[in-house]
Structure formats: C-alpha cells, structure tokens
C-alpha cells in the first residue's frame, strides 16, 4: 500500500504503534511494517514529520539519549495522545463499518 493511501491515517497508526511502548523513529517504522505484514510501503522519511507534529501537539513526548555514539530520540505516547487514539479508532471503526455495509450490498462485476 503506497503512502498516498495512508493519507489522513498515518497519525493514528503511529499513535497505535507507540501505544505499545516507547520507540525511536526507526522502531516506529519497523512496528508499522510488522503490524501491517509489510503492506505499508511508504518513504520512511515521511514518518518523521508525523512524529514531530504529534510531539508538538502534545500527543507524544520525545526524549534524547545516546546509543552507540549517536543521539537518539525516543517517543512516548502521552495521556492526551491515548485519548486522541481512542477517538480516532472509534471514528475509524464507525467509518469502516459503514463502508463495509455499503459494499456488502453491491454485487461485484463479473469478469469475462
């Protein structure tokens, strides 16, 4: 699935991965890939602006540490991030269920 298809959902997905525990950027991308069975194929660099945006919005808190001589920023979901994730998850389930109901009523075109 290309990054464009994830437009509007990546914030929720990043929060969902971080809801499992603190991770740095690389581990967040790895988490997205593992949980989607490699279905999400997006330029890894586009995840960092999302992390920054969520951090600035107060949904995540970032902390610097030094690992192997390199500076590493690890993100942790905040209580308001969890609340936002719950809200988004509930909206997504409602949306997904509504779309599913509409599609179930459609007869698929047969191929010749």
């Amino acid at each position: 699935m290309k990054g464009q298809a994830l437009k509007g959902h990546l914030d929720m997905l990043v929060l969902a991965v971080l809801a499992e525990g603190p991770r740095h950027g690389y581990a967040v991308i790895e988490g997205l890939r593992e949980r989607s069975d490699d279905a999400f194929d997006l330029p890894e660099g586009t995840v960092y602006p999302v992390l920054r945006r969520l951090d600035e919005a107060g949904y995540l808190s970032g902390e610097w540490s030094e690992v192997g001589g390199r500076r590493r920023r690890t993100y942790r979901i905040t209580p308001s991030g969890r609340a936002a994730l719950m809200e988004q998850r509930s909206m997504w389930e409602e949306f997904s269920s509504a779309v599913g109901a509409v599609l179930r009523g459609v007869s698929w075109p047969t191929t010749t």
Binding site: P43, G45, Y48, P49
Partner: protein, 277 residues
C-alpha cells in the same frame, strides 16, 4: 565519493533544505541515527557496505521530498498554501501591473522630459509608486508565509525593510534609487528563504531580486556617461527614466511570476494534527 560518505552527503543536503527550521540540528541527528541503524541492519544481513547505504537512503526518500514533508509541520509556522497565500498571489499580479504603471507614470512624472516641472504628474507617479510598494509588501508576506511563516529573523527583516522601502517610496518617490534598493534586499531575503526551505527552487525567481539592482545600474551608468540634457536639479532625466523603466518592468515580470505560482496553488487549510498527513 567514498562509500562511507553516502549517508553524510545525504545528511548535508537535507541539512541545507531544513536550514530554515529552528530544530534543524535535532532533525538531522534523528535522521542520521535512523539511516545508520538501517544501514547497519542491512550489513548484518550480509548486504555489501555500499549497497546497504544506498538501500537505506532509497527507503528513506529523496531529501527534498522529506524536507517538503517537514515544511507542513509546525516550526514557528506551517509552510503550505492557504487562502492568504493565494490572495497574496493575486495581489502580486496587481502589484506587477502597478509597477508597469509606475514605469510609465515615472517617465512623465519623475522627469521633466515631457511635463516641465508640473506637480500633478509627479503626484500621480508618487501615488502609483506607493500603491505598487505596499502591494509588493503584501505579496512578499504571502511568499514568506508559504515557506514557513513570518516568525524568525529573516522574515522579520524582509518585511521591515520592504515596508520602509514601500512607504518611503510613496513619500519621497524622487529618491526611488534608495527605496527600490530596499525592496530588492527584502525580495532577495524572501527568495533566499524560499530556496533554503526547499519550498521552491526556480532560477527564474531571481529576476525579481535582480530587477532593481539592474535598473539602478542603468541609472548610474547613464548618469556617469552624461546622456541627454541636464534638468533643473542637475540630474540626467534620460538616465532617470531609463533606469526606472528597466527596474520597474523587470520587477513587474519577476513579481508577476511569483504571484502566478502563489495563485495557482490550492489552499490547504490548517487542521488538527490528527487530520493531516
């Protein structure tokens, strides 16, 4: 280039495109950690050194694309087309028309080549110049908003210099050489910010920056040559008219070009962090 330089070269390029952000050093450190970790994982899986670096960079994405993604993330401003930037684009097109009119009215009101010392043509020239200047300040503000906002030293300096230049141009239009030089400086700062933020990198944008320096150079050159008659004030009206015309028309072309771009972009309204990616 040595193999180990691939990631460093990428980071250097990225640093250039993120230089407008206050947190650019932190971002580059974070991305450096990512790229090195990705390359190390590939190396541990048996991938050859250079291939590991190339693959980790390819997976991360083009530095300009990444910088653009960051440009939509708040850092003292949001670099995206808005209703204001679009309106500023329309304003720039109107300003371009006023600059062309400024050249025309300057020819009759700023020299004594046609009307000999009459006040009305001069006042008309001054009014047109003032309007062109103020509209240009709005246009530059739109461009600065488009590439990250008005906060920070560069946007503040650009707007302050442009405002002084525009206001003074309307009040003492006869000293156009000084005030348009200020507009050129402000335009230069704005275009430089557009380029360093990665928002837009069109060589043609520098036409607006070079316009007034070229016009002023024409004025100085013809004055030095002593072309044409000398007026009551001891100036050379032909040099004045030629420099003014060249500067104003080139600036109209450059500003119009920037205005067309701003106007062509669909506004992206700022929304909650959860709604945009």
């Amino acid at each position: 280039m040595a193999d180990h330089d691939l990631i460093e070269a990428y980071l250097a390029e990225l640093r250039g495109t993120l230089a407008w952000r206050r947190d650019d050093d932190e971002l580059v450190d974070e991305i450096s950690d990512h790229l090195h970790e990705a390359a190390e994982r590939l190396l541990s899986n048996g991938t050859e050194h250079r291939a590991a670096q190339e693959q980790s960079l390819a997976q991360f994405g083009d530095p300009v694309v990444v910088a653009r993604a960051f440009a939509t993330t708040s850092s003292g401003g949001i670099a995206m087309p808005t209703q204001f930037t679009r309106t500023a684009g329309s304003t720039a097109l109107i300003a371009a028309a006023f600059w062309a009119l400024m050249a025309l009215t300057g020819f009759v009101g700023g020299t004594e080549l046609i009307f000999d010392g009459q006040l009305a043509p001069y006042v008309l020239w001054a009014v047109v110049s003032g309007i062109a200047g103020i509209l240009s300040v709005v246009s530059l503000a739109g461009l600065l908003v488009r590439c990250g906002g008005l906060r920070g030293a560069v946007p503040a300096a650009a707007l302050a210099v442009a405002t002084i230049g525009a206001v003074m141009l309307g009040i003492t239009t006869w000293a156009w050489v000084v005030w348009t030089a200020l507009l050129a400086i402000a335009t230069g700062l704005t275009v430089w910010r557009m380029h360093t933020s990665g928002t837009r990198r069109e060589p043609g944008d520098w036409v607006a920056v070079a316009a007034w320096p070229i016009g002023i150079a024409v004025f100085v050159l013809l004055t030095q040559i002593g072309l044409g008659p000398v007026d009551y004030y001891g100036d050379y009206p032909v040099a004045n008219a030629a420099g003014l015309t060249v500067g104003a028309l080139l600036f109209a072309v450059g500003l119009g070009r920037l205005g067309r771009w701003l106007r062509s972009e669909e506004p992206v309204e700022a929304s909650s962090p959860m709604a945009s990616t």
